[in-house]
Each structure stands twice: as structure tokens, then as C-alpha cells.
């Protein structure tokens, strides 16, 4: 089944797939570059791609970029890990205890429907303007995909499998290790991927408040000093890192979901 899944992806050779993926962006960039150099564009609003690259190189050389990337990645990771360690226990509780599920359904859905950025003023009041507020924003956007997917993952554990495990005298811990975790894993990892994407996108929002370091700050600061090329460079870095992280998650999902169609057969 693995082979079948792969064959769909690898029908074309790698170079052709890369070319297909890059064709439209490259064409747009070329047209953009030409238009900027010909003076058809307002280069303050739309600086040429080469100018953006130069700005990026300038940021990289000065060490500013590394510092901002480091700060942002650290924030996202802290928030993301906090989201995991809070969402997973809640998911297990909700899944295992009907009363907890009934009690928590409404409040959880209410908070989920509230935009984290709307809570920002409150978070500033509660957590101050330090790192804690940024972590809290990222935690809030990462929490729900992890919660919902962990619950869905646990629901995909078939009672028949658990019964079979009991007839083999597996201990509760072994049942978790050999049945529950592997059964729930594909959906759980999909939730992590979703959550990480959310966290990364919420980063700039979180870095709007009183920061002096981070990719969000970099963009805001560049705008303040009228360096649009740097704004674009910052956006480019955020996009690239987010994309890379997402690809990494896809890889991870493939590795963990060895029995990918875990739900297809019994």
C-alpha cells in the first residue's frame, strides 16, 4: 500500500516536479523584476525581487536576521510545546470521562470560537508585555487542533482491538503502547501539523506587542523605517520557514503512519 501511495507522487521525475512547482512563481518574479527595473512599478510599494534579496542578504550579514529567526523559532516552539502538554491531557480526559466531556464541551467551544488576537489585550493585562503573552497567543492557536485531533485519534481506537489485547493479557501500559498510541498516531500527527502551521502564522500577531526582536518585529520595524524591501525579505523568511516546517511534518506523518490506512481494514 505504501508503494501505491508513493507511485502517485513519483510519477514524474524530480526535476520535472520541481520545475512544475516553481514555474508560476518564477514567471511572476521575472515579470515583477522587469517591471520594477523598467520603472513601471512604485518600487517603494513593490521593490524588485533582487532588491528584496539584497535586503535579506544585508539582514543576514548584520546578524539581525539570525537573531530574529532564533527568537521567533524559540517562541513558536515554546508555545507549541505548551499547547501539546495542555491539549493532550485535556483530550485524554474528555475522551475517557463522559462527565468531563459534557462539562467542558461548551467552554472549550466558546474559547475556540474566540479569536486569540481578540484576547490579546486581556493577555497583556494578565501576562504583561514579556514573553509569556507571546507564548500564550501561540498556545491558544495551537491548542484546539491538537485537542480535537487527539480526541479523534483516540476515537479511532477500535474496541475490538482493545478486547483482543485483553485476551492476550497485555497490561494497561502495553495496551497504550501497542494499541492505543499507534492507532491514534496518524490523526494526532495531522493535528500537530495543523497546530504548528497555526502557531507559526500567529507568530507575527504575537510579536506585534512590545518586542524588540523576532520576525514579526523585523517586519514592523522595517515598515516604520520605510524599508519595504526588508518587509518583503522578512515575509519571505517567515513563509520559507513555515513551508519547511510543514514539509518536515509531512515526512514525520509518513514515517509514523506506517499503517497509514489504519482505519481501512479489520
Amino acid at each position: 500500500m505504501d508503494a501505491r501511495a508513493k507511485s502517485v507522487v513519483t510519477d514524474d521525475p524530480l526535476w520535472l516536479r520541481l520545475l512544475t512547482a516553481a514555474a508560476v512563481p518564477l514567471a511572476v518574479l521575472c515579470a515583477w523584476e522587469i517591471a520594477a527595473r523598467a520603472g513601471w512599478l512604485n518600487v517603494y510599494l513593490l521593490p524588485a525581487p533582487t532588491a528584496v534579496l539584497r535586503a535579506g542578504a544585508e539582514l543576514a550579514r548584520s546578524g539581525e536576521l539570525a537573531r530574529d529567526v532564533g527568537a521567533s523559532v524559540q517562541r513558536v516552539l515554546v508555545g507549541f510545546v505548551l499547547a501539546i502538554v495542555t491539549a493532550v491531557p485535556v483530550a485524554v480526559l474528555v475522551q475517557r470521562c463522559r462527565t468531563a466531556e459534557k462539562l467542558l464541551r461548551f467552554p472549550l467551544n466558546f474559547v475556540r470560537a474566540t479569536a486569540p488576537l481578540a484576547l490579546l489585550p486581556l493577555l497583556v493585562l494578565w501576562c504583561g508585555i514579556g514573553e509569556a503573552t507571546k507564548w500564550a497567543v501561540i498556545l491558544l492557536v495551537g491548542f484546539f487542533p491538537i485537542l480535537l485531533n487527539t480526541v479523534a485519534g483516540l476515537q479511532s481506537v477500535r474496541p475490538q482491538w482493545l478486547e483482543m489485547a485483553r485476551t492476550l493479557d497485555l497490561t494497561p501500559l502495553e495496551r497504550v503502547r501497542f494499541v492505543i498510541v499507534p492507532a491514534a498516531m496518524p490523526v494526532f500527527v495531522a493535528g500537530l501539523r495543523l497546530a504548528f502551521g497555526n502557531c507559526w502564522r500567529a507568530l507575527v500577531g504575537a510579536e506585534l506587542i512590545a518586542t524588540s526582536v523576532g520576525l514579526g518585529y523585523l517586519i514592523m520595524d522595517a515598515q516604520a523605517i520605510a524599508r519595504t524591501d526588508m518587509v518583503y525579505a522578512g515575509i519571505l523568511v517567515i513563509g520559507t520557514l513555515g513551508f519547511a516546517a510543514d514539509r518536515a511534518f509531512v515526512r514525520l506523518t509518513r514515517g509514523l503512519a506506517g499503517g497509514g490506512d489504519a482505519l481501512a481494514e479489520d
Binding site: L168, F178, P182, A183, G258, G259, D266
Partner: protein, 221 residues
């Protein structure tokens, strides 16, 4: 559901249990397997206090993300073997049930019959004192079912001390069992002893007659 049921399964024998759907055949096996608990009554296993019980359900219940070998290895968790010994036992057991060399396959790559062989192998790996077969061939097509019956006859020597076979099919019970009990109204309505070289079709006819006589006619109307 079961009430006043008294069943003595002889050590070393295959004891088939027949009855209409909903008569409590499977409930009986689940009670013996410890999956359900009875409101009253006792289940004892002769001198054995903590018997090893092997169960084969109607569906194979193999974990789809694990290979056959990994699935079977779960049955050896309580045995405490070295990795090499474990692999050897699993390979030998797969060979025995006709799945030699299939250890690296995933359940999705098996036919229904093969998956059920694997489930049987998993149960036998425990070297069970009691083997419980809950309509193990019930989900198979008629041809595969027939083939698997031959297979079970061949494997009887490996079944362990005592086997309980729940089935819907009278011919299957006659082919596989030493003793056949019919459950009706929550108790054993009748028991038959299957003698070697006896006239199988006459026995089948007698069993069918008893079954229909014990049928829940009041509800059937």
C-alpha cells in the same frame, strides 16, 4: 441471557456449541475469556487456577499498522523469551498454520482466510490451556470456510487441552468436534457425542431436529 447453564468441557476435546442467534453462545465464550462478568455462577478450569486462554473471534482483529510477526509477538509478551527465540517461535507457528514466510506482510495484504489463520496462530502461540473459537470461520466465503475446516482438523493436535467452538453450522460442528451441545433458553438443551466413523449425516439430522425443536418458536411467530 444464560441461566442455569451447566457445561462440562472434557480436557483434550473439542466441544462445539450450537444454537440460534442470540441464544448466548458468544456470551458464554466471553464469560470464559474474562471479557464479560457473570451476575452469578462459576467457571473453573480443573486444577488450573490461572489458565492461559486463547481466543479467536469472528474477525481476525489484527492490528493493521503492524506486520504479522509484530501482531503475533503480542501473544508472547507474557512469556519472556529472547528476541531470537520469539522470532523462531513466531516463524514456526506461521509455518504451522500455512503462512510460512508471511511474517513481514501487513494485515491488509492478507485474504480473509489468511487473516483468520494468523488470528489462530496468535491464539495458539500462547500455548493455551483453553482455546475459544467464536465463530472463527463465520465471516469467510463458503469455499474458504471449507478449506479452513480441513485446516482446523489438521491442526487439532495443536489446539491445547480443551477447545470450545461456537458455530452456526451443524456440519462444521460434526466435522470438528468430539462433543456438541445445543444451547436454548439459556441452558444446555442437549448434548451429542461425535463418534469416529459414525454416520455424520445421520448425526447432523438428529442435531438439526433437536435444534429446531428447541427453537424460540414463541418469538419467531
Amino acid at each position: 441471557m444464560l441461566n442455569g447453564l451447566d457445561l462440562l468441557a472434557e480436557s483434550g476435546q473439542v466441544h462445539a456449541i450450537l444454537g440460534f442467534s442470540g441464544c448466548g453462545k458468544s456470551t458464554l465464550l466471553r464469560l470464559i475469556a474474562g471479557l464479560d462478568t457473570a451476575d452469578a455462577g462459576t467457571i473453573s478450569f480443573g486444577q488450573v487456577t490461572a489458565p492461559r486462554i486463547g481466543v479467536v473471534f469472528q474477525e481476525p482483529r489484527l492490528l493493521p499498522w503492524a506486520t504479522l510477526s509484530e501482531n503475533l509477538a503480542l501473544a508472547l509478551r507474557r512469556v519472556g523469551l529472547s528476541r531470537a527465540d520469539q522470532a523462531r517461535r513466531i516463524a514456526a507457528m506461521l509455518e504451522l498454520v500455512g503462512l510460512g514466510g508471511c511474517g513481514d506482510l501487513h494485515p491488509a495484504e492478507l485474504s480473509g482466510g489468511m487473516a483468520q489463520r494468523a488470528a489462530l496462530a496468535r491464539a495458539l502461540l500462547r500455548n493455551p490451556d483453553v482455546l475459544l473459537l467464536d465463530e472463527p470461520l463465520g465471516a469467510l466465503d463458503p469455499l474458504t470456510r471449507r478449506q479452513m475446516q480441513d485446516e482446523l482438523v489438521r491442526l487439532r493436535a495443536h489446539f491445547g487441552r480443551t477447545t470450545l467452538l461456537v458455530t452456526h453450522e451443524v456440519a462444521e460442528a460434526v466435522r470438528l468436534a468430539d462433543r456438541i451441545s445445543i444451547i436454548a433458553d439459556g441452558r444446555i438443551a442437549h448434548s451429542f457425542v461425535v463418534r469416529a466413523h459414525a454416520d455424520a449425516s445421520a448425526l447432523e439430522a438428529a442435531i438439526l431436529q433437536t435444534l429446531f425443536a428447541a427453537a424460540p418458536t414463541a418469538r419467531a411467530a
